[in-house]
Amino acid sequence: MLIGNSSSVTNRVLTIVFATAGITFGVVALAGAGALFGLWEWPPRPWSPFGVACGAVVGAIVFFEMAILPRKWLRGRRLGATVLWMQFHIWLGIVSLPIVLIHSGFGFGNPLTAITLALFLAVIASGLWGHIMQQWLPRRMLAEVPNETIAARVDFTGSYHAGEAARIIVELTGADEGHCDEIESDHPECPVPTNPGVVTGHTASELCWFAEKLLLPYLRSGRRSRSPLTARVEVERRFAEFRELAPEAAHPALRRLETLCELRRQWDSLVRLNYWLHNWLVIHLPLSVTMTGLMMLHAVRALKYW
């Protein structure tokens, strides 16, 4: 683990929170202690030598933190183990928080510094949020999605499963693939098939309608289809009904269809968890880049008028 060695997620999250708080209060207390001994004034002023030194340290840390970006682009070059980079990235990021607070004199200053500081705090917060998510969500994913796949391929695999389901329906009902409306029944769009399958009559038309309207869209698009099959209970209920109506020979195929629904439900969870696992980066990365730009502007401006 990058922070804490405990196998308990709660302990690791608490470690992150307490480490951040502890380091922040510790460093601030240390600076306060220095002020007590007369080494610098309190609250430190940003333009004082101590304040500028803190700013320089933070600037160096931020540049190091941003160096992780080119390091990713050059990952084929083996510039050290990534875990080491990540550990330094996280720890230095946490350490930079109290130093920035000291550098700012616990105030926001002019609009530029205020924006820079606000962005900095947002970057730190998003980073910590992301790190906490990374402790918590992988374990949830492990428990909730036993049949995991690559999140980016969920829709592709879902379409593949929809094709399989369509073939199963064709074999069960005898309808041509994609032409379930040939079956006639209570549903006006479903005529009786010319070559009936294992399931016939009203049940066939029900099954066909179910597949066309609910099952296949759900397998293709998951939750986005707004299908009632999103709920496991609903899936179980509907397939239990079909099993009651259909002959014994159709049960294995129906079980397979139910399994496909279950897989899709798991993968919806996977997509959702994956989103929460990585969405923090959408905030963290652009804010970091913007903050670094503003920090450089602030540094140039401050040094010019110092």
């Binding site: 990952r75 990534t82 875990v83 994913m141 492990l142 690559i150 696992l277």
Partner: protein, 926 residues
């Protein structure tokens, strides 16, 4: 499986069996009855040219390497014994010599490792049957390669009275034999004459690239020049023209584009031009050719060998037939140009072609060893480099080895004579000669290395074996070097000297080469002053013998050969037998010496124990195919087994379900509990009511080699070596107590099912901490030309995802059968490396059970032509190559190094199992 189920009949498959155009299940247009295993035991006596020979009516079907083929139930697949098989049995019984056989029954379309089809009828013989004591002559000639043997069958070959058995001469009907032989001779001569008239054309190349079997067979049949009116009309159109059945749907006949220059020729403009010229010549005349093989339909006799090779030896099924009548020819896919078809250019068809209709266009450039020259020219017309001791095809043909067989005594073996010339030419650079003279020493191989080469010994020299030495890469530490310590020199660096063997052992290093395991010792060789050199002289039988050459300094010669060459040699039954003899003996020895039985014993006791077990040849070596049961639960305990290679699982069947108790692999043993049951009962480890029987079933998880120690030898060993007895008892009691405690059966079953026991470097992702960021995949792609060698998907084991990436298996299936030895391990590293001379046949991809090898297009930069632009046709049919995880060639693998969350590990199977079990235990405690 019962005999009923395999005795398939035509009605069972809905096919006609007895009609004229009946086809078998493989769709061969041959009227043939399906064989049964019951006929393995039915013996018939056949008389060929007066020589009686008893053969079974069916024999086990074998693959190209001589391994028995088994059905899905693990049973041997039967094959009908043919007249030709009976004739071969006469050769094996040393009644005839091989040249005798070739003279009596010349064959053209038949090869031992292919299904017989009786296409060319060169092997025709006359058959008669004895009915009520009277000889009844048959009405027609039959192809001996395909016709089954029958009880009372009397066969007359073309040799007739000249080759008749002198012992039965008097009883023979001389007139009838002469008449039958004349019929056979006449038939064969006409066939040979017709084939020669139409297809025996001069070679188009400037150097010899193949040997024409048609020429040899025609010579045997006495055909020097075909009759004038048999000759092909001068105005007859070549079959090499591109056929345009429907111009709208067929390709416009384009000559093949200039072949890209070989990289080694780029600097030499003259060689480049010669290369281009040569390619252009071939392209214009043989438009069906590919970049590797020249296709000349005019030479094709439609013997079907290439088609069968593509379908039976290799699994590609690209070759078939097209056209009809005189226009019939072989075709790639639906009559595509070979280079544009789905052909992977493995050259198996070229190797099997008897007439040069499919011939070599470029060498393969094998580089099995690091000190190979930078390049072996691809153009077979380019002179071959001689500086590294590599042999040309002609030189390989002349290689001979003096071997002292434990069974048959001294004999001379020509290992490359049975290999088709085209294959030798294709693989020039795969064999090199290594020679030492008096006073010199040469290290053949080092302990711990993964060798992909074996060493054929010419017959002289002394070979010293060392174990426990420093590894080849060992150097003094930084401080050692600072204080002037040098790498240890002399014999000390090789370790402890354990044996010296003479050079008449046929082969060395074959165990590492064939089983893909580390070398077990370091071998250094030097010239033997007692046998300075050998020379060949002709013996009275016509077969050469080796004798000590007079004069000259002592020298020893060894030929280093790559694995694919060794595989090819094994297609010959005689060499296979010799190799098996050597291999079996050494396998038994190494199992005993390096197994766990001897592991903890003092050196002296170990030697005594090994000597006791190896004395008298009482131990039996067995190969067990994957899935087969070795011992069954409940059967009486008779033997003790030492595992030489592979992994077995021990399981009990409880309520119809298997409960895996443990797994045992190389060096370990099983079977002691049943044999030591009396002692274990006294110890209280077994219930008093138990019997001396197997407590578990043992089945092979992958191809396993075991050494069987008979029960009486085992008990004698226990009596003579009390320390071994005690150790065996303690081990047995411990295992029984573990079993009684109830292990994690589900985990073990899953471990076995997923094949994790194979892994030496599994890529395991801890899903508790993996954030699915895919950095591992991206890092792999970035470090390997954009082709990731891993897929972050696979089966879960505990909290781990075992990603689809090379596992560095104990038994690397991927290396089996590579036709150019492009895939192997180097030195002592575990990574499986695919060399640049991979021909992209895809066999390794197919063999890998874990889907870790991918086929990708070759680097486009390699396909750039030397002159002009790449025509779109050629550019679109870019060659492929196999890529695989090479564990980053010894560095920390990029996938592991790139993981930002301590989630990716390279770990071996047992360590992963331990980790999963430990976590399971922790979770249960919580």
């Amino acid at each position: 499986m019962s005999e009923r189920t395999d005795a398939l009949t035509g009605s069972a498959t809905g096919r006609e069996v007895e009609s004229l155009f009946a086809r078998d299940d493989d769709d061969h247009l041959v009227r043939r009855e399906r064989e049964t295993r019951a006929r393995f035991r039915e013996m018939v006596t056949v008389v060929i040219d007066g020589f009686p020979i008893e053969v079974p009516r069916a024999v086990p079907k074998t693959d190209a390497q001589g391994n028995p083929v088994r059905d899905t139930g693990g049973e041997l697949v039967p094959r009908t014994t043919t007249i030709y098989d009976a004739a071969v049995a006469l050769v094996n019984a040393h009644v005839w010599s091989e040249s005798d056989l070739k003279h009596r029954i010349p064959v053209l379309c038949h090869q031992a490792h292919l299904s017989p089809v009786g296409m060319c009828r060169m092997c025709s013989v006359h058959i008669s049957s004895v009915k009520r004591g009277k000889l009844t002559p048959g009405r027609r000639l039959v192809p001996s390669c395909q016709h089954r043997v029958e009880r009372g069958m009397v066969v007359t070959t073309r040799a007739g009275l000249d080759g008749y058995n002198p012992a039965t001469w008097k009883a023979a009907d001389v007139e009838a034999v002469e008449r039958f032989a004349a019929e056979v001779n006449s038939s064969i001569r006409v066939v040979a004459e017709l084939l020669a008239a139409d297809h025996l054309l001069p070679d188009s190349g400037t150097v010899k690239r193949y040997e024409s079997e048609l020429t040899r067979v025609a010579r045997v049949a006495g055909v020097t020049a075909p009759r004038a009116w048999f000759a092909r009309p001068a105005e007859a159109e070549s079959r090499n023209r591109l056929h345009e059945a429907d111009p709208r749907s067929r390709r416009i006949p384009l000559p093949l584009a200039p072949t890209p220059a070989a990289p080694e020729e780029l600097e030499d403009r003259g060689a480049c031009r010669a290369w281009e010229d040569w390619n252009r010549t071939v392209d214009e005349r043989f438009p069906y050719s590919s970049r590797s093989v020249v296709v000349d339909h005019d030479k094709c006799i439609l013997c079907d060998r290439c088609v069968r090779s593509c379908n039976e030896v290799k699994p590609f099924q690209v070759l078939g037939h097209t056209g009809k009548g005189y226009e019939t020819r072989i075709s790639f896919d639906l009559d595509s140009v070979m280079g544009d078809s789905s052909c992977v250019q493995c050259a198996e068809c070229m190797v099997s072609c008897p007439t040069g209709a499919l011939s070599l266009r470029r060498r393969v450039q094998p580089r099995a060893w690091p000190d190979s020259p930078t390049a072996i020219p691809q153009n077979p017309n380019t002179p071959f480099p001689t500086e590294s001791g590599f042999l040309t095809a002609d030189e390989m043909r002349d290689v001979w080895l003096a071997y002292h067989s434990p069974k048959h005594g001294p004999r001379v073996v020509f290992p490359f004579r049975s290999i088709p010339y085209a294959y030798l030419k294709w693989n020039e650079g795969a064999v090199r000669k290594r020679e030492v003279v008096a006073g010199e020493k040469l290290v053949l191989y080092r302990e711990g290395e993964y060798g992909s080469t074996a060493f054929l010994l010419q017959g002289t020299g002394l070979f010293h074996f060392y174990v426990g030495g420093s590894r080849s890469g060992d150097r003094p530490s930084f401080f050692g070097r600072l204080f002037g310590r040098k790498p240890s020199g002399g014999e000390g660096e090789f370790g402890r000297h354990v044996a010296t063997r003479p050079g008449n052992q046929l082969v060395m290093g074959e165990m590492g080469c064939l089983t893909h395991q580390r070398r077990e010792s370091t071998v250094v060789f030097e010239a033997d002053p007692r046998v300075p050199a050998l020379e060949l002289v002709s013996a009275g039988s016509g077969w050469p013998v080796a004798r000590v050459a007079a004069g000259g300094p002592p020298r020893a010669v060894v030929y280093e050969v790559t694995r694919n060459m060794l595989d090819m040699m094994q297609r010959t039954a005689s060499f296979r037998e010799h190799l098996d003899e050597v291999y079996t003996k050494r396998a038994v020895e190494s199992s005993v010496r390096y197994g766990e039985l001897c592991a903890d014993l003092p050196a002296e006791t170990r030697e005594e124990l090994a000597a006791f077990l190896l004395a008298g040849g009482r131990l039996e070596f067995r190969r067990v195919p994957a899935g087969q049961t070795i011992v069954a639960e409940g059967e009486p305990a008779r033997d003790y087994y030492i595992i030489r290679l592979g992994t077995v699982r021990l399981f009990r069947t409880v309520s119809g379900r298997e409960r895996v108790l443990s797994m045992r692999s190389r060096g370990q043993s099983f079977g002691a509990i049943g044999l030591l049951a009396d002692d274990l009962r006294r110890w209280g480890a077994l219930p008093r009511t138990s019997r001396n029987e197997r407590v578990a079933t043992v089945a092979a998880l992958d191809p396993v080699e075991v050494v069987r120690v008979p029960g009486d030898v085992f008990h004698e060993m226990c009596r003579r070596f009390p320390a071994v007895h005690q150790a065996l008892l303690e081990d047995a009691a411990r295992r029984l107590s573990e079993t009684a405690a109830g292990g994690p059966a589900g985990v073990l079953s899953e471990y076995a099912r997923q094949g994790l026991f194979q892994g030496q470097k599994l890529l395991a992702l801890d899903l508790n901490s993996c954030t699915r960021c895919d950095e591992c995949t991206k890092a792999c792609a970035d470090s390997h030309d954009g082709h990731s060698r891993l897929l972050r998907e696979g089966l879960r084991f505990g909290d781990f995802l075992v990603a689809t990436s090379c596992r560095s298996c104990h038994k690397p299936y991927c290396m089996d059968g590579c036709p150019v030895d492009a895939i192997h391990r180097r030195e002592g590293k575990l990574g499986v490396v695919i060399e640049d001379h991979c021909i992209g046949c895809g066999l390794c991809e197919k063999n890998c059970p874990y889907g870790s090898i991918q086929m990708v297009p070759r680097d486009p930069a390699r396909s750039l032509p030397l002159l002009g632009e790449v025509p779109p046709l050629v550019a679109s049919v870019g060659p492929r190559r196999a890529v695989n995880c090479d564990l980053c060639e010894g560095e920390t693998p990029a996938c592991v190094s790139a993981c930002p969350h301590f989630a990716a590990f390279r770990i071996d199977g047992p360590a992963l199992l331990d980790e999963v079990l430990a976590r399971k235990q922790r979770a249960e405690c919580v």
